[in-house]
């Protein structure tokens, strides 16, 4: 009988935990600092599928939710390109993901993404979250929205969430380069000092 009670209570605990896990996902809270980000497989503008696991030599990733149509995202395009140019050779490539529903924002469809990437000379993959399943897992709410991941033995650990820097208007007037500071710290084997920042962005269109 004792065994049965133990078994039932153990089962209850398991059920409760799984129930809460599901709830958390449904609420779309997304990753927190220190969480392990699940890998994904999303279509790139060249038609090929891209996953984080494809990057065998990467030390981590600058996952950037962005799009064609958000004025803030457009203001940051050159800075995103510069991040990739600076950090991809050091092991932290930019992975750009377009999260919007393209029925709501036709200007963000795959063709439009392709032509924007070509005209701006994107050096990184520009993936489409067609089924809108990846951005809720991250907890991205807007464009642009950056998640820096560090490759660890347990998986890709979330080290930074937030903005690229502290001045959307003028790249030359920036005083805090949040993303660069975070990646530099990780490359130096240090902890990221400012792990979460906020910025205005366009809500992701569902």
């Amino acid at each position: 009988m004792k065994k049965l009670v133990k078994l039932v209570s153990a089962l209850t605990v398991v059920l409760l935990i799984s129930a809460f896990t599901v709830n958390k996902e449904e609420l779309g809270e997304g990753y927190k600092i220190g969480d392990i980000a699940e890998d994904f497989s999303l279509k790139n503008i060249d038609g090929k599928m891209v996953s984080l696991s494809d990057y065998k030599d990467a030390k981590g990733f600058i996952v950037t939710f962005t799009c064609n149509t958000c004025p803030y995202a457009v203001l940051y395009e050159d800075r995103i390109i510069n991040l990739d140019k600076k950090y991809a050779p050091k092991g932290y490539p930019v992975i750009a993901i377009m999260p919007n529903n393209t029925d709501v924002k036709p200007g963000d469809n795959l063709e439009a993404m392709k032509s924007r990437a070509q005209s701006k000379g994107f050096t990184f993959p520009y993936l489409i979250d067609k089924n809108q399943t990846v951005y809720p897992k991250f907890g991205a709410t807007k464009t642009p929205h950056v998640f820096i991941l560090k490759k660890t033995d347990e998986g890709n650990q979330v080290k930074y969430i937030g903005a690229i820097d502290d001045n959307y208007k003028d790249a030359s007037a920036v005083s805090a380069k949040y993303v660069e500071n975070a990646v530099d710290a990780l490359l130096d084997g240090k902890e990221v000092e400012q792990t979460v920042t906020k910025a205005i962005g366009c809500s992701i269109k569902v």
Partner: protein
């Protein structure tokens, strides 16, 4: 039967003129004051979030380029008009880019004949002030704060008119 047709025609005519009237902006209604846009950095703006009188304030963060914001703007206008005598005041806080104030924001305010108070918030160091509006705010717009001197609610979402009215009524009930 003759009268019936006459009445019908009259009704149709009156409807038509009514619609036309609605679409026409009122002529030169305080043009000058509408042309002046109040522009604040966060330090200057924060007084709008901390008023300590008997009113209920509905502070909506929006921009002319933000499609869901523009879509819900008429609901805030309607709320402001209907609830004005119930001590509710709407403030529309534009986050438009400063270089577009003249070409986009001011014409928008004028063409839509916005009656609610519109102010522009221009402060690029967003990480410093977004948490001061609400710790819950990730930074996407539209976003809305409803408050009175006793309580404050934050919403990072789009509203329908019914939803907006429901939230404001929560404050009125107290």
């Amino acid at each position: 039967m003759k009268y019936f047709y006459l009445i019908l025609v009259l009704i149709i005519l009156s409807c038509k003129s009514d619609v036309e009237k609605k679409n026409q902006p009122p002529i030169a209604l305080s043009e000058n004051s509408k042309d002046e846009l109040e522009i604040y950095d966060f330090d200057g703006f924060k007084k709008f979030l901390n008023k300590n009188d008997d009113k209920i304030y509905v502070i909506n963060f929006w921009a002319t380029w933000c499609a869901p914001c523009v879509k819900e703007l008429p609901y805030f206008e309607k709320l402001n008009a209907i609830y004005e005598n119930k001590n509710v005041e709407v403030v529309l806080v534009s986050l438009d880019f400063p270089h577009l104030y003249e070409s986009k924001l001011k014409p928008y305010i004028k063409n839509k004949n916005l009656k609610s108070k519109v102010v522009a918030l221009d402060d690029p160091d967003m990480n410093s002030w977004i948490p001061l509006v609400s710790q819950e705010w990730s930074g996407s717009i539209p976003a809305t704060v409803i408050y009175n001197k006793d309580k404050k609610q934050f919403y990072e979402q789009s509203f329908t008119y019914a939803e907006l009215e429901k939230e404001v009524n929560q404050f009125l009930k107290q």
